[in-house]
């Protein structure tokens, strides 16, 4: 393998890795906030892709322009999922862990069915976007513009998230709630409201990822499932609840996936990622940056 080919593989892996990080960070945020794993996370991504697709058809605008609107829609979906489902799962007196798993799984199946009902199981793609199909030539290294754009959105989102967490009252309330749920009530923070906003924020982040993915990936009702598994692996690798961990782990996952595809048949490209994840959690159960 030539040096140029290796750089090509690593650069593509890095771009995809940043997009994986963006897909995963919402999941990690929600877990850090309230110890709940959202098993409908992939379906949130899938709905964001369909929302982009639908809005493009209706408004004739470019996906890049529609991205904030998709994120806003997903914010509403996330908050609604908390208020309508997860809030009740957290009240369960018996088997709470199991109730959370299966309540969010039920939601995932419902959303998949709803997507199939509304959009049929056919594969769709967003037609004629500005970025779709264009590549950047960097002296023989070819990088597709949609992925470059996605990587930039991801970096911007992580930067924005960092500012939000450290500079705003909402961010401080979020941090305080993850430290001690009981104590925040004493200082007048409404725990339920923080949780709902946290779910909204987590879903809005995956909404951004969905809007980006819709530009260059096929859309179908099961599309979320494959990305969801990568997202769980990313979050577990980085450490559940760690935002920085999601970023680092996402990049690692992207790079390992790209390199595996060189060594093994392309159909097995995820095996390298899964094997790495297992190797890490078997040695460090809490992931790279997680707390036990």
């Amino acid at each position: 393998m030539t040096a140029q080919a290796l750089v090509q593989v690593l650069a593509s892996g890095l771009l995809m890795g940043l997009i994986y990080a963006l897909i995963a960070v919402g999941l990690s945020l929600i877990f850090g906030l309230m110890d709940v794993v959202n098993f409908a996370h992939g379906e949130f991504l899938m709905l964001a892709m369909y929302a982009t697709f639908g809005l493009v058809l209706v408004t004739r605008l470019d996906p890049v322009v529609l991205m904030p609107l998709v994120a806003a829609l997903l914010f509403v979906l996330g908050a609604a999922a908390y208020l309508g489902v997860v809030r009740f799962a957290m009240r369960a007196k018996a088997n709470q862990g199991m109730v959370q798993i299966f309540a969010t799984f039920g939601l995932a199946i419902l959303l998949q069915g709803a997507a199939q009902y509304l959009f049929t199981p056919d594969y769709r793609n967003v037609p004629n976007s500005w970025l779709g199909g264009r590549t950047l030539d960097l002296g023989g290294i070819f990088l597709p513009w949609p992925q470059i754009f996605g990587a930039l959105v991801s970096l911007a989102a992580f930067g924005g998230l960092h500012l939000l967490m450290s500079r705003t009252d909402f961010g401080r309330a979020l941090k305080a709630t993850r430290e001690d749920q009981g104590a925040v009530a004493l200082v007048g923070i409404d725990r339920n409201r923080v949780f709902a906003l946290g779910w909204g924020l987590g879903a809005a982040l995956v909404g951004l990822a969905g809007a980006v993915l819709a530009i260059f990936y096929y859309i179908h009702p099961q599309v979320g499932a494959s990305f969801a598994l990568i997202a769980y692996v990313t979050v577990a690798l980085g450490g559940f609840g760690s935002v920085a961990g999601a970023l680092v782990a996402g990049i690692i996952v992207g790079l390992v996936e790209a390199l595996t595809a060189v060594i093994l048949p392309p159909a097995l490209k995820s095996v390298g990622v899964y094997a790495l994840y297992l190797a890490v959690v078997f040695v460090r159960p809490q992931g790279l940056f997680g707390r036990l």
Partner: protein, 343 residues
């Protein structure tokens, strides 16, 4: 010393006797239920309904197998499709390629799966809660991908069972499905009986202690790690037997049709729905869930509209939220429930 314990002795003996009597009663009830089920197919001639019955019984047995690890020992595996697939593939490959009767194939698949469960359990049981569940999903997915690309076992194409005359030897019944119903009942009864044995044994108490609070159990001298390993091996063994039966029943397998993630979910859901860590929860859960999903798929699933999926999803959510202890807990008087909570 002796003087202090004497007054307690008769009370203890009485408690032990009533406990033994209760366990005997459970066994008698089970014998009646399974005998009643065995008579069912003679009144059921509709092929479609026979299929629903077979699947219900099979998933009840598989959910009971899952329940041994997930319900009694509290380790929520979402990767049991791996063991199901291993059983299906072992049985199929041994029969189709080497002519080994499916009975031995199932046993081989069961032992293989138990060994795999022990091998995987060694690192996996260091993980707790969601970390454990996600690791099981990932491992099953690796298995699916590998089988998909393994030509010896048919790769993505899968393997077709040859057409044979109806026989109990080869477990092939093309014309009359009633023998499959009887096999499924026997399988369910076997898993039920093993679970009953475990419930009364030292292992049963250990596993429940591990589920309730692993750290406290450890400090009381319970072998936490060995408990989890034993539960995983037993659970994997029976899940693989179910996989072998399913392969014989549908006579054609490919990676997606025996190893996809939806199976892992289908083994856990009936147990969760009926009541985890109980003898009858999985059967009750399967009796509600499987007919409902099968029938809604036939009536609403036409044209891939997704209505059946929506109904299924709502059902799963409602069950999880409305009845965390499972449907079975509705029928139990408060006193018995309190008794069960403190064994």
């Amino acid at each position: 010393m002796t003087a202090a314990t004497t007054p307690l002795a008769p009370a203890l003996a009485r408690a032990e006797a009533s406990h033994a009597a209760r366990r005997r009663r459970k066994l008698i009830v089970a014998a009646l239920v399974f005998a009643g089920l065995a008579a069912l197919p003679y009144g059921l001639r509709d092929v479609y309904l026979q299929n629903v019955l077979i699947l219900t019984l099979m998933y009840a047995a598989l959910a009971q197998s899952w329940n041994i690890l997930g319900g009694y020992c509290g380790q929520v595996s979402l990767g049991h499709a791996l063991y199901f697939g291993a059983g299906a593939y072992a049985t199929t490959v041994l029969f189709v390629t080497y002519g080994v009767l499916p009975w031995f194939g199932m046993l081989a698949g069961g032992l293989l799966s138990a060994a795999v469960a022990l091998l995987l359990g060694y690192p996996c049981f260091r993980l707790a809660g969601h970390y454990f569940s996600i690791a099981t999903i990932v491992i099953a997915e690796i298995g699916l991908l590998l089988v998909h690309n393994w030509d010896f076992v048919g790769g993505a194409m899968g393997i077709q069972w040859p057409f044979n005359p109806d026989s109990w030897w080869t477990l092939q019944f093309a014309r009359d499905k009633v023998p499959y119903i009887h096999f499924a009942i026997a399988f369910l009864a076997l898993v039920w009986f093993v679970t009953w044995l475990i419930e009364g044994s030292r292992w049963g108490y250990w596993w429940r202690a591990v589920k309730d609070d692993a750290q406290a159990a450890e400090s009381l001298g319970v072998e936490v790690f060995r408990s989890k390993m034993a539960a995983a091996a037993v659970s994997a063994f029976f899940t693989a037997i179910g996989g072998g039966f399913y392969a014989a029943y549908v006579s054609y397998i490919d990676p997606e049709s025996v190893m996809s993630f939806r199976f892992s979910l289908l083994f856990a859901l009936p147990a969760v729905l009926g009541g985890i860590g109980t003898l009858w929860g999985p059967l009750v859960g399967a009796a509600i869930l499987i007919p409902l999903t099968e029938i809604s798929r036939s009536y609403l699933g036409g044209g891939g509209k997704g209505l059946d999926l929506m109904l299924y999803g709502i059902l799963v959510m409602v069950v999880a939220l409305a009845r965390p202890e499972g449907v079975l807990s509705l029928f139990r008087p408060r006193k018995a429930r309190a008794e069960e909570a403190t064994p």
